[in-house]
């Protein structure tokens, strides 16, 4: 009951913020269309397919999730700044209620965002005459569940650790890093060397791989990448829960 009450509040807080539509939906969809237009200008003989809708759809879905992270982070940081969270500490709310309350609505929004991104990708594919498997997109959406949890936990972690002013800055760094090292805007596999090693050591590369492989219904290497995203999601969730509990305890010392 307490979890539901707090989840409903967080859900409403996010969907009533106009910026969430601009960043969580508008920006990724604009990038989807812009990159498709850029793809049209790339000569076929270059063999570059990174901006083709079948490659782009999954990558943009991961890119969009980084903005869900930003909004979870902002909501948690704002709550901590004001007296509202402190007031709730004096009610029967427990740390688990807060954590589920932040995570559940964000997960629903992340799933909705992914579905919309893939629906728009499907529409774009009709214009570009590049075939997109509906089954592949559905599988990609489900395969991204651990990535959704991972970004939400990262948002909660940043929002708990940093102030309302510092946290968005940190999230911007994560957004840039995840799209750059994750290979959203280029094929990370072609970079090689240290850059590729760093990409592989971080979770974002694997999330993009999972989305691309699933949407193309290619299963070679899929299991490995998926498992890595599950491990990262578990690690960030554990860290977020631990830090939130420690901070809550410190707040009432």
């Amino acid at each position: 009951m307490r979890k539901k009450a707090f989840s409903v509040r967080i859900f409403k807080e996010i969907i009533r913020d106009p910026l969430s539509y601009i960043f969580c939906l508008g920006f990724p969809l604009i990038m989807l269309v812009v990159m498709t237009l850029i793809n049209d200008s790339i000569p076929q003989e270059t063999g570059m397919t990174i901006f083709r809708i079948d490659d782009l759809a999954g990558a943009i879905a991961v890119f969009g999730l980084t903005f869900i992270m930003l909004f979870v982070c902002l909501t948690a940081a704002k709550d901590r700044l004001g007296a509202f969270l402190v007031r709730l500490y004096a009610t029967p709310m427990r740390s688990g209620d807060f954590i589920v309350g932040y995570t559940l609505p964000a997960f629903l929004l992340a799933a909705l965002q992914t579905v919309i991104t893939f629906a728009v990708s499907e529409a774009v594919s009709l214009f570009t005459k590049v075939e997109l498997h509906l089954g592949g997109l559905a599988l990609a959406a489900v395969s991204l569940f651990p990535t959704m949890i991972m970004f939400i936990s990262l948002g909660l972690l940043s929002g708990t650790l940093f102030s309302e002013k510092a946290a968005p800055g940190l999230c911007s760094v994560i957004i840039s890093l995840s799209s750059f090292l994750g290979g959203v805007w280029f094929d990370a596999d072609r970079t090689g060397g240290v850059l590729l090693k760093i990409s592989k050591a971080l979770p974002f590369y694997h999330s993009v791989k999972v989305a691309r492989l699933a949407s193309a219904l290619e299963f070679e290497g899929f299991g490995k990448h998926f498992l890595i995203t599950v491990v990262w999601a578990a690690a960030f969730t554990t860290a977020a829960v631990f830090v939130f509990k420690v901070k809550m305890r410190a707040d009432i010392k």
Partner: protein, 241 residues
């Protein structure tokens, strides 16, 4: 059983003592005012009594429950309206009330009943569908007190509930507090002497974390040798300077 009892309650932050060996008892149904200049320790005392911070030493009890060892029980007994109007800004008045009903585990039916009751009790019909962030200061305070009452507390803490309100809004707030008087134990902190004089059964005057004097208005007047609460307060806190 006392509504509130503190025994040598102390809170220290590094080398600063925010509350120093506080010993008070507040009877059930009593309206007890805590007066003091800024930094006197009023809010820290309230934070310890509502389990929002731990005492460095000493003990405090709400309806016989220890705030330190039985905090989950204590949280079911208290309601707090903090100095800052802590409401969910993007939710409407009704949604704020419903959220708190959910936090206290009320059924759908009870939630509807409590929401209607609170809206009517606080005359909030005109603003019930308005987002809290767009309300005036007075309405926000009203909502804040409403939220503090949703858990049907036995002890209500009102931390400077009329701070920054205009004279009409203050009087409206007094009416609300008066209506609650006798039904639940209320701890009121305020900087306004007239407010304490008007509403409180007993008054404690704090300075530098210590309770300097405690009693009814008459008792404080006779203790200080001054007429009126403001003069008594100045005499007790400032030593007549």
């Amino acid at each position: 059983m006392f509504g509130i009892e503190t025994r040598f309650l102390t809170k220290k932050y590094k080398d600063k003592t925010a509350v120093d060996q506080m010993n008070i008892t507040v009877n059930e149904g009593e309206l007890f005012a805590l007066l003091g200049v800024n930094g006197a320790g009023k809010t820290t005392a309230i934070r310890m009594l509502t389990c929002l911070c731990r005492p460095t030493s000493g003990e405090c009890y709400i309806m016989g429950k220890n705030c330190l060892t039985e905090s989950n029980e204590v949280k079911k007994l208290v309601g707090i309206s903090t100095q800052e109007t802590a409401v969910a800004e993007n939710l409407t008045v009704c949604e704020n009330i419903r959220m708190f009903c959910g936090i206290y585990g009320y059924s759908q039916e009870k939630t509807v009943r409590v929401t209607d009751k609170m809206i009517s009790l606080f005359n909030m019909e005109d603003v019930k569908d308005q987002r809290a962030g767009t309300l005036s200061g007075g309405w926000k305070r009203k909502l804040s007190i409403t939220l503090a009452l949703i858990g049907e507390p036995k002890v209500l803490f009102l931390d400077e509930p009329t701070l920054g309100l205009d004279v009409l809004a203050r009087r409206e707030m007094w009416k609300i507090v008066r209506a609650l008087k006798g039904k639940i134990t209320i701890i009121l902190t305020t900087h306004y002497m007239d407010e304490a004089q008007e509403l409180a059964d007993r008054i404690a005057i704090m300075a530098n974390g210590k309770v300097m004097a405690l009693g009814t208005l008459c008792e404080l007047e006779s203790l200080s040798g001054e007429k009126g609460l403001e003069n008594s307060f100045i005499r007790i806190v400032g030593g007549g300077k």
